[in-house]
Amino acid sequence: MNRSLLRRLPSLLWLWLLWILLWSTPSPLVVLGGLLVAVAVLAVSRFPEVSRQITVRPLRLLALCVRMTGNLVVSAAAVGWAALRHGPRVRAAIVELPLDADTDLLVTLATLVTNVSPGSLVLEIDRHRGVLYVHVLLVAASGEPEEARRKLLATERRLVAALGRRPDPSTSPTSRKDDA
């Protein structure tokens, strides 16, 4: 009981912080009320535990964030260029992207990372087989579906390197299921 409370601490702190930020004036009433609201929300809803799903490696995470910001600028420019130059005749492809990410949170983050990569948008998530289906604008990406796929896979590997779970000795490495 106590341990499960401890594991929910990150969610609790985040909700509390969000409440204070929303009010943007940290008066005692807001701070105290925020704590009550955060506890109530956690008690009523069944938030998944976050801390067991990821392991943060700060340096790699920072590098990933910088890279993603750059990616967002590049992909915005690329989509804009595609709109001006090709418009209705733009070519696209749907590619399959097998995921290394195995927890819900990581899959969500992988979707986010994929969405800011140039020319790609996640169409469908196959959670059980661990596959993302990605719609790629070919002019905005790099010409061929295969090349776009390779770049997306490399980005996803960087995400797992930054936040992937530490291998858990109690579970066998072959079991990829983590649906809760």
Binding site: A76, A83, L84, R91, V122, L137
Partner: protein, 120 residues
Amino acid sequence: MNTALDVASALLLIAGAVFCLLASVGVLRFPDAVGRQHAAAKAQTLGLLLILLGAALQNAPRYAVPLALVALFQLLTIPVTGQIVGRTAYRTSALAEESLTEDALARRLPPEERRPGQDD
């Protein structure tokens, strides 16, 4: 006001507005809903973020907090909208199929399992 701050904020605001315009051109010209979602998810998001940053520079620091939260929510919600619009578009055959050079999803979700196109 500080001139350097004004210049930086002016550049950010104009760049943001330009990206918004590019996004709208994409919304107008791309062949299907998913293409338009591309424009919304990339160019429009970047445009909004730049304008928010430019606005934050012109205002008292305490207003940076709501602006940062708007930016955060925008980044977090765009993939969700994109995925829901994407899967609905695919399953209602609203994708411009002539523009697709490769379709890996067709193997799992063959055309006969999808709904015919909806036009109204």
